[in-house]
Structure formats: structure tokens, C-alpha cells
């Protein structure tokens, strides 16, 4: 009966039944308004969502506070910027701590890995989104995503047993010998060819962040309107010219989002880097020689930190890492909003 009332075909028939059912329907709608529109449920649900959202924000703030409190001892002793730019990290002899070597290590590895991974990641995205047949694109997409799914400790293991020795035997050793023969003064800058060091870690990191750039770039490419592509084709553009002229400029917001996400990931990556970077705590670093990053020093020294100031310094390093990540993310959000044309900011 109720179904017939709302059925348009019934309402069109001019008979008595229509009159009565119309009255009852409008009465029904008028009387039980709160029930029909479920205002109570709506309100409860919005409280619930607000609470959940608030908890997320609260967690972040509490985390920052705790990190600061536990690292306060170190920050107070060396000063906010003193600790940030302190070049000595010596937990054994002088018991003196400064975060600068790790900040340098983190910036070099993350910017380096971004530089190495950007062009290949963009190339993979262009190939899968624009050139390859769909079945192949599907396979490549899945394989790329798989890289992101591999636990970083596994990548670290592979790096230790396969990649680092291979790099040492194939490249570092030969280049090192060549440098010794031709320009020995350059040798200290290049570093010792042990295989574990800043170059190896950066390359591994580059491999690890490729999927982040690729996935967001492919997403952004897919959001480029068909009309933009056709407009370029209609001007007599070849496929590559279409990509260059219409697709990449339109998708730049999404590409930048991918780059920034990758950068954030590279800054925070811990395990694989800690396993491969060689863990040298003091400047200067050499090209292929050992170094340290902020996450790697935390994970390496946390269990051995006996003095309070050592522990506090490590947590302070964590605090600075937190701030840097936060700043990177804020910059990313800003850049995206500024350059986005495809609405990629929701990513």
C-alpha cells in the first residue's frame, strides 16, 4: 500500500483513491518529521565523527608534547638551536650530543633518493597511464605497489646480502681504484669502498619511494580531462607532445603531491637505512662512506643509551624529526593547493 502511494503512475490517475492517499501521505510526512528525517541519529553520528577526528588531532599534539618533554633535558642543556646545529655526537667519551650530523645525513639521503627516483617514477607513470596496453599497465601497477608492500627490514636484508656487496664489487671498488691511480686527493671525499654507506642507502631509499611518486602521478594523469588530451591531439600533437603539453602540466599538483609524500617517506624511513648506511655519527661524511640519519641513530642507539642525557638526546632527535616531517607535510599541502588543477589535494 505504501509503495503504491509513492508510485508516480498511480498519482497521475485522477481518482478518489489518489485524493485520500495524498492526504494520508502528507499527514504522515508532517507529523513524524523527526522520525522521517532521523535528526537524532544525524546528530549522534556527527558527535561521533567529531570525537574521532578530535582524537586524531589530540594524539598528534600529545605525541609532540611527550617528545618535547622527554627530550627537554638535552634541549635545555645544549639549547634549541645549539642541539640542532651541534656537530659532535659522542655518547662514549665526551658525553656530548648534537643532532647536526643526522640532520645532514637525513637531508642528503632523502633529497638524493628523491632526485634519483623522480625521473624513473615519472617514466613508469607516463608509460602505464599513457602508452602501455591496459593488461600490461595493470601488471606494472601491481608490481610497483608491491615494492611499497615489502617490509623495509626485508629490503634492508636484501641490501646487506645482495645489493651492497654487488655495488661494492661492481662500482665502488673500481671507481676507488681509478681515483687512487689518477687523483688520490679525491679519495677521502669519495670514501672507503666497504659497500655500506650513504650512497647505497640513498639508492635503496630511492627504490623504496618510487611507488609513492608513481601511484599519485598515475592518479593525477587519470584525472586529466579527455578534452585536454583531445585538444592537444587536434592541434596535431604526437603522443609524447600531448603528454608534455596537456597531461603533465594539468597533473602537476598530483605529481608534486607524490613527490612530497615520497620525501616524507624518505625522511622517516628507518630500518632499511639503519641497516645499510654504515652508522657513522660524526661529520664529515664522504660520498660512499658511512653516515647516519635521524631515524637510524635512534633505532641503533636506543637500547644502549644508559645515561639519561643520551636517552634524552635521542628523543630530542625524534622531536626534531617530528617537526621536520610536519613542516614537509605542511609545505606539501600548500604546494598542492597552489598548483593543483585536478583536485588532487584530497589525496
Amino acid at each position: 500500500m505504501k509503495k503504491r502511494e509513492t508510485d508516480g503512475s498511480v498519482l497521475k490517475e485522477p481518482n478518489v483513491k489518489y485524493q485520500t492517499s495524498q492526504t494520508t501521505l502528507s499527514e504522515y510526512l508532517r507529523k513524524k518529521r523527526s522520525f522521517i528525517y532521523r535528526t537524532l541519529g544525524d546528530r549522534l553520528f556527527s558527535y561521533f565523527i567529531f570525537a574521532l577526528g578530535f582524537i586524531v588531532i589530540l594524539t598528534t599534539i600529545v605525541m609532540a608534547i611527550v617528545l618535547y618533554k622527554d627530550g627537554a633535558e638535552a634541549i635545555k642543556r645544549y639549547g634549541f638551536f645549539g642541539f640542532l646545529f651541534g656537530r659532535v655526537w659522542d655518547p662514549a667519551m665526551k658525553i656530548e650530543f648534537g643532532a647536526f650530523p643526522f640532520i645532514v645525513g637525513t637531508l642528503i639521503t632523502s633529497i638524493g633518493s628523491l632526485a634519483i627516483s623522480f625521473v624513473p617514477a615519472l617514466a613508469v607513470a607516463i608509460f602505464t597511464a599513457e602508452y602501455s596496453p591496459r593488461w600490461l599497465a595493470h601488471i606494472i601497477d601491481n608490481l610497483t605497489n608491491l615494492i611499497a608492500a615489502i617490509p623495509s627490514v626485508i629490503i634492508g636484508l636484501w641490501g646487506i646480502f645482495v645489493f651492497a656487496p654487488w655495488m661494492r664489487d661492481t662500482f665502488y671498488m673500481n671507481i676507488y681504484m681509478w681515483i687512487l691511480d689518477n687523483n688520490p686527493s679525491f679519495a677521502p671525499i669519495f670514501g672507503n669502498p666497504i659497500g655500506y654507506g650513504i650512497a647505497t642507502a640513498t639508492i635503496i631509499l630511492a627504490i623504496m619511494i618510487v611507488p609513492y611518486t608513481t601511484v599519485l602521478t598515475v592518479d593525477a594523469f587519470k584525472k586529466v580531462p579527455k578534452e585536454q588530451r583531445e585538444a592537444a591531439y587536434a592541434l596535431g600533437a604526437t603522443k609524447w607532445e600531448v603528454v608534455k603539453m596537456a597531461v603533465i602540466p594539468y597533473a602537476r599538483g598530483g605529481i608534486l603531491a607524490g613527490v612530497m609524500l615520497s620525501f616524507g617517506r624518505a625522511i622517516g624511513e628507518t630500518m632499511a637505512v639503519a641497516m645499510l648506511i654504515g652508522n657513522k655519527n660524526n661529520l664529515p661524511f664522504s660520498i660512499i662512506g658511512p653516515a647516519s640519519t635521524m631515524p637510524s641513530v635512534i633505532v641503533n642507539e636506543f637500547r644502549e643509551a644508559v645515561e639519561n642525557i643520551h636517552l634524552s638526546s635521542l628523543i630530542a632527535v625524534g622531536f626534531y624529526l617530528f617537526i621536520i616531517s610536519l613542516v614537509v607535510n605542511l609545505i606539501a599541502a600548500y604546494i598542492q593547493r597552489k598548483f593543483s588543477l585536478t583536485g588532487a589535494r584530497t589525496v
Binding site: 580531462p225 578534452e227 585536454q228 588530451r229 583531445e230 585538444a231 592537444a232 591531439y233 587536434a234 592541434l235 596535431g236 600533437a237 604526437t238 607532445e241 603539453m245 596537456a246 602540466p249 594539468y250 602537476r252 588543477l341
Partner: protein, 278 residues
């Protein structure tokens, strides 16, 4: 409604009788489709269309939604090459040469047939200037003097120059819808195409912008051959010299516009134009 159009029809007859219709013999053929069919998978988008397109005339393609007029238009500059399951049969002769012949590069063909789409399609990150010269950059023209000249000429042609001459470096996306569409036209004109294909160029625009584009079409036909797809029959009557009526993927009638809108040869054309269907 039917009554109204009958009356206007009678009026039009009186007008056309005093007008002298140019006989096709005086015209040169710019483009010609011969038994052109487009198939999506196994179904026909359009079937066996043969139309002559005369040089420096405006030809309108009209018909109800889904009748294949856009499909036909896109076959003229080989846009169907980009659709995976679309196949084209028959031939299209541009200046007497078949554009679907083997070894013909669609990229070269598309440079000769400019296209304007339903939605304005300026490249939003490029400046107005760069938008206009986008097609010229593709053919490798870098001479600043030539480019400056072309930009001014094309924008004047598209009746946009006065509005944007002081801000050529601002992004194309910053213009209004009507301006964007005129920018798209300027961009298509910059490469000096033989034919300009317009796919419902005014359907996303307000009446004022529509009027400007229609005025523009009138001016442009002095120098370029135009084919325009339109939903709007009044528009077809206003701007075109020839009209092709499409229905269900087939060509029902091709005629001079004045004849088509007054005494069409075909009953179905008359029914459509008088609003009996469509």
C-alpha cells in the same frame, strides 16, 4: 508550436524566392566524405555518409542526440584513431587526397583541420600567448617576431584581442567561459588550418558569448572552411550555408541551408525541423 513554425516557414519561403542560391558549380570542393562509416565494435556510429564540404562555406551538421553528427565530425580529422574499439570505413578526401589512405600520418592531417570542442579547452597552466602558439610550437616555429604576429592576428580573428592584449602572460584558465572558447578558436586558427571543425562550440556558453561566436563564424568563413555541429536549429539556420541532417547514424538530407529550412526534400527533415520529433 507546429503552427508557429509553419508560419515562419511560409515567411522564409518568400524571402528565399527573392534570394539567388549560389549553384554548387561555382564552388570548389575542400573536403568530401565518401561512404564514410564509423563502427564501435560491431555497431555503427554512422553509416555510409557522403557529403561534399565546399570551400569557404559553413556547413552545419544537425540532428537529434545520438544521431552520429559528432561521430562524423571526429572522423574528419581522424580523432577516432584515439578510441580503441572504433573503426572507420570509407574515405575522406581533403583537397582530393584520402586522409585514411595508408601511410598518411594522422598528426599531419590534424594540423590541417583545426578543431574546437564543446567545452572550452585552453591549456590552463599555459599563458594566453602560449596557448595561441601551442600548435605552432609543435611544428617548430620559434621566431619571436612571427609568433608575436600570429598571436595578434589569431586573437583579432577570434575577436579576443582587445580584451586580452594587456594580459597575454596570464594563464588561459583565468578567462571567462566565452573568452576561453574564443581562445580555443584562436589557437585552432593560429596554425592556419584548411578546415575548422566545431563540435557544438556554443553549447556551454551564455547567449551573449554565443552571439559573439556566431558573429565570429560569419567573419571567419571569408578565409576558412567551417563545419559546425549544433543542437540548435536556429543556430544552424543563422550561421550555415549548407546543412546536413543526420538521423540514427544515417544522412537523411544534405542541402543548402535556405532550402533545408524552407522546403526540405525529405519528409523526416521537415518533421524534425518543425518539432514533430527529436
Amino acid at each position: 508550436m507546429i503552427e508557429m513554425s509553419r508560419i515562419s516557414k511560409v515567411n522564409n519561403v518568400n524571402i528565399t524566392n527573392t534570394e539567388k542560391i549560389t549553384p554548387p558549380k561555382d564552388l570548389s570542393l575542400r573536403l568530401e566524405s565518401k561512404k564514410l562509416s564509423v563502427m564501435y565494435g560491431s555497431s555503427y556510429g554512422v553509416k555510409d555518409i557522403s557529403i561534399p564540404i565546399y570551400d569557404k562555406k559553413v556547413t552545419a551538421l544537425i540532428g537529434p542526440s545520438g544521431c552520429g553528427k559528432t561521430t562524423f565530425l571526429r572522423a574528419l580529422n581522424r580523432m577516432h584513431d584515439l578510441t580503441q574499439n572504433a573503426r572507420v570505413k570509407g574515405s575522406v578526401l581533403l583537397n582530393g587526397k584520402d586522409i585514411y589512405a595508408p601511410k598518411v600520418d594522422p598528426v599531419v592531417i590534424r594540423r590541417k583541420l583545426g578543431m574546437v570542442f564543446q567545452k572550452p579547452t585552453p591549456f590552463p597552466t599555459m599563458s594566453i600567448y602560449d596557448n595561441v602558439i601551442a600548435g605552432l610550437k609543435l611544428v617548430g616555429i620559434k621566431n619571436k617576431l612571427i609568433l608575436d604576429e600570429v598571436v595578434e592576428k589569431s586573437l583579432r580573428h577570434a575577436a579576443l584581442w582587445e580584451e586580452v592584449k594587456d594580459r597575454l602572460k596570464t594563464p588561459g584558465g583565468s578567462l571567462s567561459g566565452g573568452q576561453q572558447q574564443r581562445l580555443s578558436i584562436a589557437r585552432a586558427l593560429a596554425v592556419e588550418p584548411d578546415v575548422l571543425l566545431m563540435d557544438e562550440p556554443t553549447s556551454s556558453l551564455d547567449p551573449q558569448s554565443t552571439t559573439r561566436i556566431e558573429e565570429l563564424i560569419h567573419k571567419l568563413k571569408k578565409t576558412v572552411t567551417i563545419i559546425i555541429v549544433t543542437h540548435n536549429m536556429q543556430q544552424a539556420a543563422r550561421v550555415s550555408d549548407y546543412t546536413a541532417f543526420f538521423y540514427l547514424g544515417g544522412l537523411i538530407e544534405f542541402n543548402t541551408t535556405s532550402k533545408m529550412f524552407t522546403v526540405p526534400d525529405n519528409k523526416r527533415t521537415e518533421d524534425y525541423l518543425t518539432g514533430k520529433f527529436g
